[in-house]
Assembly symmetry: C2
């Protein structure tokens, strides 16, 4: 650590010489006070935290909670009641209509080669149309990307397109690997219907080679109804097997069946609770995650973790007697997974009411051990945030850098607001993401609690220093 501290001293010295008004002594006192507050936040989170017990209830008693489902409403009411029980200054539901896609019966898929039948773990992608009740069967064309579909054109007629570009495991941040191949899942079906393909299957978005298919959002964009084809994800093991067997027999036939459907939109809600600011009640700092999840697992990491951590931030403020100068608002956004209606509605209403949002923090990268925060901000504020590194680094939060914040708070973006994403370690996230393996037993208590304390510490610094 020596070097870092040398740096910090250098930076403090340099900044003291140039543009900091307070004397060095005052600054050190302020920093000392901050480091004590942050230490107290971590101590209470680690010895008296509630986030893990809440997540246990949300995951194991309510479970998966796709927008429009009964479970999503149960989760919303649970969140509202919890914030009331915690005596936040104000708690309310914000109405929003959400899409209502329903998986239906368990999907089936298989292919046969030399009389041997291979069953394939498969799941419909969120938003897909169903297959006919007898399923669809067709030859398979394996492709690596969307462009290849365009170049194949009419050769796709009557075929099932198999998108098989894998995760690039050389990325240290797994979100980069995800970003590098998720277009196949999101837009695969959209691009191949116009050439007469009858279906699209996609390799699951994970670096893990296993038997679990990973669902996720897809879109047909604005293509015509008759060009829409059913689409599904197969497990990575199945994708490797199918690819191998296609080399043996390029005309083997693949079968899959799914009965998902899109029902009419349903009324739903964002859950909002706040601590009202003592000095600037009209200036708002929002912290949140999304209350909906996919339906296969119980959504513990995506994004039960973000939900319970966000509520815990406000509880840690109260527990430590921190009375925020600004209003601190906890938002449990609905429908991040397949529509972002909650995030959009929250921003729309904020605009309509002329609310003054000065900062927002989102936790939607799982409940893993802390690494840091990414932010989108003005240069001046960026400098301020980077100056907090020495305060946060002792808690594993050494990666404070510019970058994407989060989907739900994205619509709040303006020239003045500072947006943050909580960044836990990313190595295990895509093992579970959107699959039936995203369950409570994959969450470590201390890791989750450290995340909540990390977020509370950042919100404390924002409340203290952000103008």
């Amino acid at each position: 650590m020596k070097h870092i501290f040398t740096c910090i001293i250098l930076i403090i010295t340099l900044s003291s010489c140039t543009n900091v008004k307070n004397s060095k002594t005052t600054e050190n006192q302020v920093n000392k006070k901050d480091s004590i507050v942050i230490k107290n936040i971590f101590n209470t989170a680690l010895t008296n935290g509630q986030s893990y017990q809440w997540l246990d209830y949300l995951s194991n008693e309510i479970g998966g909670r796709l927008s429009g489902s009964h479970e999503s409403i149960a989760a919303i009411l649970w969140g509202e009641r919890l914030m009331q029980d915690l005596r936040f200054d104000k708690v309310w539901l914000q109405d929003v209509m959400v899409p209502n896609w329903y998986r239906g019966e368990k999907e089936e898929a298989s292919f046969t080669l030399n009389t041997e039948k291979y069953n394939v773990p498969i799941c419909a992608l969120g938003g897909s149309i169903p297959t006919p009740v007898t399923g669809i069967t067709g030859e398979v064309i394996e492709v690596q990307n969307l462009e290849e579909v365009e170049s194949l054109g009419e050769k796709l007629r009557g075929k099932i397109v198999f998108f098989n570009r894998p995760f690039d495991n050389t990325h240290i941040q797994t979100f980069k690997a995800y970003g590098g191949c998720v277009d196949q899942r999101y837009a695969g079906a959209m691009v191949c219907g116009k050439f007469g393909a009858i279906g699209a299957i996609v390799r699951s978005m994970t670096s893990s080679i296993d038997d679990y298919p990973h669902t996720g959002a897809m879109s047909y964009g604005d293509i015509a109804e008759n060009e829409k084809v059913p689409t599904a994800a197969i497990s990575t093991k199945a994708a490797n097997l199918l690819s191998e067997k296609l080399k043996e027999n390029p005309t083997l036939k693949f079968y899959f069946k799914q009965s998902c459907k899109t029902l009419p939109d349903e009324p739903s809600h964002n859950v909002i609770g706040e601590l009202i600011g003592t000095e600037f009640p009209d200036k708002i700092i929002t912290v949140g995650g999304h209350i909906d999840s996919w339906d296969l697992g119980d959504g513990s990491h995506d994004d039960g973790a973000g939900i319970v951590q966000s509520i815990e931030v406000l509880r840690l403020f109260k527990l430590n007697g921190i009375k925020p100068k600004h209003t601190i608002r906890c938002v449990l956004f609905i429908n991040e997974e397949n529509g972002l209606r909650g995030g959009k509605k929250y921003a729309e209403e904020a605009k309509a009411k002329n609310e003054n949002h000065i900062a927002a923090l989102e936790s939607d990268s799982g409940g893993f051990t802390p690494r840091g925060f990414t932010f989108e901000a003005t240069n001046e504020n960026a400098e301020l945030f980077l100056s907090w590194k020495p305060l946060l680094a002792p808690y594993g939060l050494s990666e404070i850098e510019e970058g994407h914040s989060g989907a739900d708070i994205g619509p709040l973006k303006s020239e003045t607001i500072s947006l943050f994403g909580y960044r836990p370690d990313s190595q295990r996230y895509f093992d579970y993401h959107h699959a039936e393996t995203d369950t409570f037993d994959k969450v470590n208590k201390r890791e989750l609690e450290l995340g909540a304390a990390s977020m509370a510490s950042l919100v404390y610094l924002l409340d203290t220093y952000l103008k």
Copy 2:
């Protein structure tokens, strides 16, 4: 990251002005080459790594491998064969006699309160004597530390001493919490026999509140045979329950039975393989972990991970065509857990042969996501190691600092050698440490592989720059 890079530039500028001989251009070129080599090491580990598959075999086919057991010999022969198959330049076994403690039949424990019987998960501590075949039964005195035993003195006669000081969960590094209470396990039985206590039980060394007892080494020091009492660990849940029930009835009777015994020492081996240096074959850099484990789980994190990572370091050198200037030696030490005979023997023989060991790196903190390295070195070398931070930080290795290296390489310590410990994230380690839950399914493939690549990168830098 901006600040960090500003710092780095400052440091580079400052060092260029003062004590670095090469011009800045040359230095940048060198750094660029290093960063390419390190990137290649990570790429190959993440796309073509073998450590996870090896650990699967070691954990699931051989399993727990306490010193002196058949399994420990199977593991040693497996390690030797693997290094031979990988065509290391030289592979051999180094003979060493090891203790041979044997757990015997499954332990039993219980207590009764108001006619209700509570069974307690328990395990003998490594090195303990057995109870009589009918077990022992006695009143319990709960204490928080060794000093309290001394002050209680004769009040302990005929009693079972219950050491119940818990992990301090406010430590961010869990090893600090472990260090803060492990004296109870190691020395508890040693201090209470002289006052006529009949047994000692200890709260398991973990922050997790669960049903798994955690074993580990204990010592009787040089106390008389008749002062030795049997000792065991109970689970944290059982410790909390017992403590609570003792408040209801301080005279409740606790029973436990164990049939462990210490057999005569057994012949065993360190496994050693090396790549011979092209320029300085007589200067040695050692990398290793320990091949023995406790018997309850399969020792995947402690220390199967360190073993397979150490072997992988040499394989990654070969795979990337890195021909080391110095001899790189991989050592699988035997008997770290209950004697350190392997580590001591290796250092003794190095001294006897007048070998020149310039550096050693140990991985014995689990196969978790990388955080950094600790080192023990001269001031001059410390400065060199800290200058590598910018090369390692992109891989999550931001914590490079002075600190304890490792138990097995400790005996090599001299005024000139640089000793390193690989430091993965510590949050989950003590959930599994020395318990039946330390199993292969707790290891994440990418995390393990990143650790191996981290270690190979450090060894590459040591080989390139260390004099």
